[in-house]
């Protein structure tokens, strides 16, 4: 009987997992995304795996947003979207999870700003006005860098939109 309650609660909120290796900027993009949700007026919670795990390499950050968010915890299989920056990371996702993965060429091309490129891809899937994305990105970076980062962001957004139109 409690199951039905649980499902109803969690269906309303959007759940995103960000994963990658240390140094790829996983936490940077999950933080930008959380702020973009905040500026749009959503409740949002974000948890990062920290501690010893960091030294081993895998970095995972999970984000939940919606009208009201209670628990900050999700299972990978509950994720609506998974943004995975490193191809060797395995997560027990469900078949319904939408994957945001860079291609091999994109990994080479975007290198240091691959995280922001993938954030751009993610942005095409979410109902967040573009000005809130820009605000969140600009606040995160020093002025000089934001130009470059916004380019990577728009490239990602465009590539995702193009893909979506093919489907």
């Amino acid at each position: 009987m409690f199951n039905s309650v649980k499902k109803r609660q969690s269906r309303d909120n959007i759940k995103i997992i960000f994963a990658g290796r240390g140094g790829q900027g996983v936490l940077t993009v999950s933080s930008i995304c959380a702020h973009a949700f905040l500026y749009t007026g959503y409740d949002v919670k974000k948890s990062d795996i920290k501690g010893i795990a960091r030294r081993g390499g895998k970095v995972i950050s999970s984000l939940i947003a919606g009208e009201k968010v209670y628990s900050p915890k999700i299972n990978p299989e509950m994720a609506d979207i998974a943004v995975i920056l490193s191809q060797d990371i395995e997560l027990a996702l469900s078949e319904d999870t939408v994957l945001v993965l860079p291609t091999v060429e994109e990994i080479e091309r975007y290198h240091k700003s691959l995280n922001i490129f993938c954030l751009g891809k993610l942005s095409a899937l979410l109902d967040i006005p573009i000005r809130h994305w820009e605000q969140a990105i600009k606040e995160r970076f020093e002025d000089g860098v934001s130009g470059i980062n916004l380019t990577a962001f728009y490239d990602g957004r465009k590539s995702a939109k193009a893909q979506m139109s093919i489907i």
Binding site: K46, K50, P72
Partner: protein, 588 residues
């Protein structure tokens, strides 16, 4: 203004706004960021103290003088600080004194899991527990106000999932200075009979004051969810019962969030103050519901207190071990007992490529001798060299354990301890070993930083959160204590380490070797090594040093991008096939 803050950031901001003059602590996951975040405000004096006990004692001096002080630490840190804590409840405070402690259910970054709420009961002090960052932010200010009002130190208890989760908080960012006058009060502040007797009685009265204050404090709240209108749930005109609307749940902290997730319709008594309890408040809530559950992480702390009031509580079947979540709670409510919540079982964390500890552990792994380990990055050596460390207990324990082992076995024993741990709690153990004529070799791993918790400075580095401080070398310290045989060696020179360890082991009495090598995460290197695959005889000697940058490829070994150019493997390669290259000139 609405903003996203982690629980730790919220505590820092709340304390800043509350006019805290001094914030002290010692690093420890998941509490470290509290002190790091408050250190950005120039009007707060912040320091990494040498250990948690000194951090709390210093803060209590600030409180005596009439200003507010915050102390932050992880759960095991509170054990170290527990001695002053117990007595501070007796003396009470002048300016507010708040101790923020973060527990680590599931042991993600700790040697054990503990429930710091219990300190409220042992010490007789109030314990506040927030459920998210906004509450953490508000509760800190309330904790300072309560501390002054009831003349008690106040514990603010967090857990990993609160400390490290960003949630939305409405903050104002305005600071209000606080100061009170100091007046001499021997009978209050000197704990000596006959004053102790009155302080003990006064403590009882002060805690009774807190108990009476709880209902009006606004820290606890009852959430009675409006029942859904009848007929709303499918049944053909029949009155269908809403799920959980006659169930009452008492909960606090992060567990509250899981309750809202799983049983949104239940009535909830959400405790913001988890010690002491107001019996009347609990009894009234219990009377208003048909069935009462207590939902809490780590063990029946609230539940036991409620049972002690003679109130019937349904057995919640919650695990007493590990971190809880809504899934475990859901199962428990359906009658499925799970023994443990989520527990960290990660065995991937090993010493980094190029770590200055690799060489000495490689050499120790070839000896069969008792090695008393300690807490720090070097504990990770057990994943690289399985049998090299015989024990790891708590900070500062290795030297005394080696002393004990040597005493009973009659053999020389080794203790391995990090630089910060040496200053934190190793020094009394060295003195004890000298005093009692122990026969041990102390190996101090001097990586010039507190590495495990993210690279904080300590007295051995001469730096602090607010710039340059006094620097103390371990060598001088050891010599001052009375250790005659002290050798400092280069962490990347295997011959040197080997020689020093051999000499150290031959000394009858207490000897020391300081292995000097800066943490590799702090170092920039312009060289890397590569293996000449044509000449590699595939003997595997280079692997013995345990560096993760060396991997197997077909019929040879190769050195990956992760190489930091430390050169340890070169010293083991018999065929001399490992060559140096400069990074801007990589031939691979």
């Amino acid at each position: 203004m609405k903003t996203l803050l982690t629980g730790n950031e919220a505590v820092a901001l709340g304390a800043y706004e509350a006019g805290v003059l001094v914030a002290t602590g010692y690093p420890g996951t998941p509490a470290t960021e509290i002190i790091e975040k408050i250190s950005i405000y120039p009007d707060v004096y912040t320091e990494w103290s040498v250990n948690e006990k000194t951090a709390l004692e210093l803060a209590s001096g600030v409180s005596l003088s009439g200003r507010r002080a915050l102390v932050a630490m992880k759960h095991v840190g509170l054990n170290v600080a527990s001695d002053p804590l117990m007595s501070l409840a007796y003396t009470g405070v002048n300016g507010g004194l708040v101790i923020a402690v973060s527990d680590d259910p599931g042991m993600w970054s700790s040697q054990n899991e503990q429930d710091s709420r219990l300190y409220g009961r042992i010490a007789h002090i109030p314990v506040l527990e927030p459920s998210d960052s906004e509450e953490a932010y508000v509760f800190v200010r309330e904790a300072f106000a309560m501390s002054e009002r009831f003349d008690l130190p106040v514990l603010l208890r967090l857990t990993r999932a609160i400390s490290h989760t960003s949630t939305v908080a409405d903050v104002n960012g305005k600071r209000k200075e606080y100061s009170k006058k100091y007046t001499v009060n021997t009978e209050k502040n000197v704990l000596l009979p006959p004053f102790t007797s009155e302080r003990r009685l006064s403590l009882q009265r002060r805690m009774e004051g807190v108990r009476q204050y709880i209902p009006s404090s606004g820290l606890n709240r009852i959430e009675n969810n409006p029942p859904l209108p009848p007929f709303s749930k499918g049944g053909k005109g029949g009155l269908s019962k809403n799920i959980g609307d006659d169930i009452g749940i008492i909960t606090s902290g992060i567990a509250y969030q899981y309750v809202k997730e799983v049983m949104p319709e239940a009535s909830v008594l959400k405790l913001g103050i988890v010690y002491p309890f107001n019996p009347q408040e609990i009894k009234e809530f219990a009377r208003s519901v048909k069935e009462l559950f207590v939902v809490e992480e780590l063990g029946p702390f609230i539940e036991d207190s409620i049972r002690a009031l003679g109130i019937k509580v349904r057995n919640g079947l919650l695990p007493e071990i590990g971190e809880m979540d809504q899934f475990i709670l859901g199962k428990a409510l359906m009658g499925n007992y799970t023994l443990t919540g989520e527990i960290c079982k990660d065995n991937h964390a090993t010493l980094c490529p190029g770590c200055p500890y690799l060489g000495v552990f490689y050499l120790l792994s070839k000896k069969s001798i008792f090695v008393g380990g300690d807490i720090g990055c070097y504990t990770l050596a057990v994943h690289t060299f399985p049998d090299v460390i015989d024990s790891t207990l708590c900070m500062g324990s290795g030297i005394s354990q080696a002393t004990g082992y040597s005493l009973s076995s009659g053999e020389k024993a080794v203790a391995v301890i990090g630089d910060s741990t040496f200053f934190h709690s190793g020094i009394p153990a060295v003195l004890n070993a000298l005093y009692n004529k122990a026969n041990i070799l102390i190996i101090i791993l001097d990586n010039h930083v507190i590495a495990m918790t993210g690279g904080q400075p300590h007295i051995g580095t001469g730096k602090g959160l607010m710039g340059y401080k006094k620097k103390q070398t371990i060598d001088d310290c050891l010599k001052g204590l009375g250790v005659d045989s002290v050798r400092r060696v280069d962490a990347y020179n295997l011959k040197q380490i080997n020689h020093a360890v051999r000499e150290g082991l031959s000394v009858k009495g207490v000897s020391a070797v300081i292995v000097d090598g800066e943490c590799i995460l702090k170092k920039k290197s312009d060289t890397q090594f590569y293996i000449d695959v044509e000449k590699c005889s595939f003997c595997g000697s280079c692997l013995l040093v345990g560096c993760k940058a060396i991997v197997r490829s077909d019929n040879s070994y190769i050195i990956t991008e992760d190489c930091k150019g430390c050169g340890l493997c070169v010293q083991l390669c018999e065929k001399k096939t490992i060559k140096r290259q400069y990074k801007n000139n990589l031939c691979r």
